[in-house]
């Protein structure tokens, strides 16, 4: 089972590199083969952590950014891939959420950050062209994937 140990070594490397920045690291998300690593970070450490991944570990592939409304707070999951998938998770307040952009580190994040902005109203600081990705022009309702919209 050298394959499994190689994959585990990948996770070990990531956890080691991010040790000083993260709140916790656990293999929480079910996936195959084996559960995927989730690293929880304080939101202010996100850019630093992504910089470590990109510059030290050579991570290039960001699959997507999943936003989620876990009223009262919001979470963002950054799904990366290097040999196997792993996720960075940050928690944001429900009121006026702001997150720093990672577009300068991972240019491929541009559309995902715009989508998160449109769907959850999370302001992405430093994004070069922050507009909702999928919503129609002049959309006035609440961000569609936020839970407070349910009350109407």
């Amino acid at each position: 089972m050298s394959d499994t140990s190689r994959l585990n070594a990948t996770y070990d490397r990531i956890v080691c590199a991010l040790a000083g920045l993260c709140l916790s690291a656990e293999t929480r998300i079910k996936s195959a083969p084996g559960d995927e690593l989730v690293i929880r970070l304080p939101v202010e450490n996100l850019r630093a952590a992504v910089a470590v991944l990109v510059n030290q570990l050579g991570v290039t592939h960001l699959t997507t950014i999943t936003g989620e409304d876990l009223t009262p707070e919001l979470t963002l999951k950054y799904h990366f891939w290097q040999e196997r998938g792993f996720t960075l998770e940050v928690e944001l307040p429900g009121e006026a959420p702001v997150v720093a952009t990672i577009v300068d580190l991972v240019p491929g994040a541009a559309l995902y950050e715009r989508e998160v902005y449109g769907m959850f109203g999370i302001a992405v600081e430093g994004h070069p062209d922050l507009q909702p990705l999928l919503l129609p022009d002049g959309w006035e309702g609440p961000p569609p994937l936020r839970k407070e919209g349910d009350r109407d």
């Binding site: 996936s31 997507t64 040999e83 998938g85 990705l133 569609p144």
Partner: protein, 360 residues
């Protein structure tokens, strides 16, 4: 030089689905471009939260009109992970068989669209004629040409009988011959090459930066294929090549897709020959326990990603779909810069856009 702004889309003969580009032209040369999407946004991620796990199978199958099966399959896999069940081997083989047929169908469809957009209607007609064979096989397997509805949580619904197997193997031989012939035509078609070589260039570095996946990435030399990188039954038991090219232009993408089509035909044969006997599905528990799951698979256009979270109720708390077209869309302004107006159609066809997928 006169400066013009040419709108391409939301409706334009070049685009089969609504997407809007503003192309800034100087003479015939593109200086800049902006993109607007969302015209076919159907709110599927939100709808998924309001329907049960089982209803969602049919909903996500409608994300895409070309690779419908792979969406439903990837979603089912995520739910199966949450439930902690494994599908029987025969079901996994049948799912993979439809995936490969879908890849053949999608790549041939794409070749036709590219040929049509460069004014080579003959190749368009031939590619779509050959694609019919793949559609016929899928219809025989599932009863549907585009939407198959064969996936259920825990396995598949429809089986392949021994007689069907022989018939499909025969049809695959026809398909193999025709695709080989088509590849020969395309490889020797000089006028197609003059239009596609050196157009829509993406370097390996750009592909990495923009997180591009699928045939577009492989045509630029990025060795990534989820079938091999995250192997599951039956791909871990089958041997197959991942075709790669390094030129990074539309011609390289054409070659990658054509070679993949041939490999998929071969894979279909192997799957049919090695398919184990056994049940088609396992009984899935009715309640989905709380938890999160990620499922990835190689759709015809690249890595397809599903994230499903359950909170223990009968509807998922969150379904996130990332389709492979999205990162390709991001590279389009880069690819369009500096090409002529005539090449805009080649660049846009070259990445194989699926707008309905991207908008969800």
């Amino acid at each position: 030089m006169t400066k013009t702004v040419i709108p391409i889309g939301p409706q334009h003969p070049l685009l089969k689905e609504p997407l809007a580009f503003q192309i800034m032209l100087e003479g015939e040369r593109v200086t800049d471009s902006t993109m607007r999407m969302g015209y076919v946004h159907r709110g599927i991620e939100r709808l998924c939260q309001e329907r049960t796990f089982i209803q969602n199978i049919h909903l996500v199958e409608r994300v895409c009109g070309i690779c419908s099966h792979v969406h439903a399959m990837t979603y089912c896999r995520a739910v199966e992970l949450l439930l902690g069940i494994n599908v029987p081997p025969r079901a996994a083989y049948l799912r993979a068989l439809l995936c490969e047929l879908e890849r053949i169908h999608s790549h041939l469809l794409w070749l036709g669209v590219l040929a049509r957009n460069v004014g080579l209607d003959t190749i368009f007609m031939y590619a779509w004629r050959d694609r019919e064979v793949a559609l016929d096989i899928m219809e025989a397997l599932s009863g549907g040409r585009v939407s198959h509805a064969v996936n259920i949580i825990g396995g598949v619904r429809s089986d392949v009988t021994p007689e069907q197997r022989e018939e499909i193997l025969e049809q695959l031989t026809t398909l193999d011959r025709q695709v080989n012939w088509l590849l020969g035509v395309v490889e020797h078609e000089r006028s197609l090459q003059t239009r596609t070589k050196g157009v829509g260039l993406l370097s390996l570095q750009q592909v990495r930066r923009y997180c591009v996946v699928g045939p577009v990435a492989r045509a630029s030399g990025l060795d990534a294929d989820m079938r091999r990188d995250e192997p599951r039954t039956p791909y871990d038991r089958l041997s197959f090549n991942v075709p790669m090219h390094t030129a990074g232009d539309v011609w390289a993408r054409t070659l990658v897709r054509m070679q993949e089509t041939l490999i998929s035909v071969e894979l279909c044969r192997d799957i049919l020959k090695e398919m184990p006997e056994g049940p088609l599905a396992v009984r899935a528990p009715r309640r989905v326990p709380p938890g999160e799951a990620i499922s990835r698979s190689e759709a015809p256009r690249g890595e397809l990603f599903y994230y499903v979270r359950s909170d223990g109720s009968d509807t998922p708390a969150r379904v996130k779909i990332r389709t492979p077209t999205l990162p390709s869309l991001l590279t389009l302004p880069q690819q369009l810069k500096g090409v002529t107006m005539a090449d805009v159609s080649v660049v846009l066809s070259g990445v194989d856009l699926c707008i309905a997928c991207a908008d969800r």
